[in-house]
């Protein structure tokens, strides 16, 4: 057998928006912005840290020298692993370039009630439900809550959410919190589930999510939480919701420069505090609709910007937190499916690491688990394209082609028997004949989504019974202490 020189294999499709030179331009735009425009950091300790490492500080404004940025980027880890708390290797997350995990999004105020299908405030019971349904969905690689709980003590929605979710899914959770206090409570729960502090360090079981503010601001709590996570080596996201034409330039290139710059402040902080700790950037990148004044979650620009941002973030050697599967519609309909299809496919092709907001409707105001279930199917379709086409003697099948010749069919061939199972099979898409479709109740896509979702809600138990009793007790204790904390200190302000 002879090998062939200069023979290239595409393991997967190649999708690219920006060239190396263009990425470099955006990167340099970020370096220039942080050096000359600087960024506001509303946290004295953080400013002191930056100053100590060569930043110019003027009031709350911090100017970052290029060499500090490069140094920070040199210590970010190339690979980080995040583990399901029950040790199930199939649900392990490997944070490395071009490996994509999809999930829901955090914190909308409302939820689509799974019984009435009406929009109402998000409740505590919804967090468990979302966790359990996502635990069952094969294409949800990590989990967020799709809401912020309205029926617990004000200021504890974050802590209750994690406490309930972690006991209803083994899929790693991406948590959030109001302040460092919530962050600490959640971390204690993560440790309880891991079985100890050292165990958590070896096998982190959740990711934390925080946000800087466009343009170019790190508020006290955002950077405070960021530093806490860095100290404790909690893998974290530090990414803005940049509003094109509103909080960042209307030009996509300008948007990427600003979004990258404000996120880089978090990257630098984490690497100064604890070199090698995992930090992921990206965020929601979309436009302000200048006709309806909403931040659009269904705009094609969201897909374009997110994919381009993924390329720039990977150029920096960082993992990307991207966006897909979301919509501006109010009720599940053709628009929600159209918008979700486009963004899911673009996110998949771009190779973003974590892709959130699968299940966001009404531009992020309402979480909808039905949308997540639909998105799950769309993600599995996009994975077919992601896989590309394998070319080798077996798949080329020249012998089989010769055998069948012209005319005839392939249905009797062993080759077909060996390979047809590779074809993608739908769980929701209708491919019935008209007659069968009528016979089975003339169900629309919406009917089928509702049916599948409710079936999971009723019949899928999730890992509730596998939670170690000790961990569960510890979680209850942490919740109680959190209640006492809020009673004593109130909802924290800076």
């Amino acid at each position: 057998m002879t090998n062939r020189t200069n023979y290239t294999i595409n393991e997967s499709p190649h999708f690219e928006i920006l060239s190396e030179d263009q990425k470099e331009k955006i990167f340099n735009g970020m370096m220039r912005t942080l050096q000359y425009t600087g960024a506001n950091v509303h946290h004295e300790k953080a400013r002191e840290l930056f100053k100590k490492h060569g930043c110019k500080v003027d009031g709350v404004r911090v100017y970052f020298p290029p060499e500090l940025i490069l140094k920070a980027l040199s210590t970010v880890p190339p690979v980080t692993e995040i583990f399901p708390w029950d040790g199930d290797e199939s649900k392990k997350i490997v944070v490395e370039k071009n490996r994509s995990y999809f999930g829901p999004g955090p914190t909308p105020p409302n939820f689509i009630d799974t019984d009435t299908l009406e929009r109402r405030p998000y409740l505590r019971k919804d967090a468990s439900l979302v966790a359990r349904v996502c635990d069952a969905l094969p294409n949800m690689g990590y989990v967020q809550s799709l809401g912020s709980i309205n029926d617990v003590t004000n200021g504890l929605a974050d802590v209750y959410e994690f406490a309930d979710m972690v006991r209803n899914t083994t899929t790693p959770i991406m948590s959030w919190s109001f302040t460092k206090d919530g962050c600490r409570d959640i971390h204690r729960m993560g440790i309880a589930m891991a079985g100890g502090e050292e165990e958590f360090r070896q096998r982190p079981n959740y990711i934390f999510y925080g946000e800087p503010i466009s343009p170019l601001v790190s508020d006290y709590h955002a950077i405070d939480k960021c530093m806490y996570c860095a100290e404790h080596r909690i893998p974290q996201v530090y990414s803005p919701c940049a509003i094109g034409g509103g909080t960042v330039p209307a030009t996509h290139a300008g948007q990427l420069v600003v979004a990258l710059s404000e996120s880089m402040v978090g990257v630098i902080a984490t690497q100064l505090i604890n070199p090698g700790t995992c930090v992921i950037i990206g965020g929601v990148q979309s436009i302000l609709d200048m006709r309806f004044s909403i931040y659009s979650y269904g705009a094609p620009e969201l897909s374009l910007l997110s994919a381009a941002h993924t390329e720039v973030v990977h150029y920096c050697g960082l993992p990307m937190y991207s966006t897909s599967g979301c919509t501006d519609t109010k009720k599940m309909d053709a628009q929600s499916a159209m918008e979700a299809s486009l963004s899911i496919n673009a996110a998949m092709m771009s190779g973003a690491n974590f892709v959130h907001d699968n299940g966001y409707t009404e531009s992020g105001i309402t979480g909808d688990i039905f949308q997540t279930v639909m998105d799950d199917e769309l993600i599995s379709m996009a994975r077919v394209i992601e896989k590309g086409i394998k070319i080798d003697p077996e798949t080329l099948a020249v012998d089989v082609i010769d055998n069948v010749g012209s005319g005839g069919h392939y249905l009797y061939e062993d080759h077909t028997m060996n390979w047809f199972m590779e074809h993608w099979r739908p769980t929701l898409m209708d491919r019935n004949s008209y007659e069968n479709w009528v016979e089975q109740g003339s169900k629309t896509m919406k009917d089928r989504i509702i049916e599948k979702t409710r079936d999971l809600i009723q019949n899928y138990e999730g890992p509730q019974n596998k939670v170690p009793a000790k961990a569960s007790e510890e979680i209850e204790k942490i919740l109680q202490e959190a209640e006492e904390r809020i009673k004593k200190e109130g909802v924290a302000h800076e």
Binding site: P109, S293, H493
Partner: protein, 214 residues
């Protein structure tokens, strides 16, 4: 000297900030009454803008540019206007409540009020309850606008209203609320006067309300 107030309306609609300021200054040098400059020049221009905006013929940056031009013209004109000539286009204090850092929606609303001729005091984001009360005492606005984008910070709005009551100044201002999670029912519940689902409708809702009160 004859002066074409229509030109003021036209210039406003094109959103030329400096030109409109100059024109307003020129009009003031004639014997046209300042009230007429407002009512026959600037406001008809803003009416055209708001009609075009509603019809989808104009987009937000264009509308805001016009609003800015209106604000500039009002700076020149306001000192010459009597209280009655100012009418409802008085002063609005607007801000985002404590613990809430969402900025842009509140700013949009502020700019829209500016466009309607209001003197806008934008006190910024993350404003403690006392800051709202203090600003109302200090600026004596006829409208107080509060923004909250978080369900956790929405209660601050009710607290501010209570503080205004305690300070005995609740009746002096019309309180209008906004922000994505805020609803009409919530506004009623906590005793606000008005709620606007978006910045575009806020001015109109306020105008109708103030007119219904006189």
């Amino acid at each position: 000297m004859s002066f074409d107030l229509g030109k003021i309306s036209e210039t406003l609609v094109t959103g030329k900030v400096d030109d409109l300021k100059t024109l307003t200054g020129q009009a003031l040098e004639t014997d046209i009454k300042p009230g007429d400059i407002l009512n026959q020049g600037l406001l008809p221009g803003m009416d055209t803008v708001s009609q075009r905006w509603k019809a989808g013929d104009m987009f937000m940056p264009e509308v805001l540019r016009c609003a800015k031009a209106m604000g500039g013209a009002m700076e020149v004109l306001r000192p010459h206007l009597s209280e009655s000539e100012l009418g409802n286009a008085g002063t609005i204090v607007i801000g985002t409540v404590a613990g809430d850092l969402h900025d842009i929606g509140k700013d949009l609303a502020a700019m829209m009020f500016e466009g309607a001729g209001y003197n806008v005091i934008n006190i910024g984001i993350d404003q403690p309850n006392e800051a709202f009360v203090k600003a109302v005492k200090e600026h004596k606005p006829n409208v107080l606008g509060m923004s909250a984008l978080l369900t956790t910070t929405m209660p601050r709005m009710g607290e501010v209203i209570n503080s205004l009551k305690e300070a005995g100044i609740r009746d002096q201002v019309a309180v209008i609320l906004g922000g994505a999670p805020v609803t009409e029912e919530f506004a009623k519940e906590i005793g606000a006067d008005l709620y606007a689902p978006n910045a575009g409708s806020a001015v109109e809702i306020t105008k109708e309300y103030l007119e219904s009160k006189v």
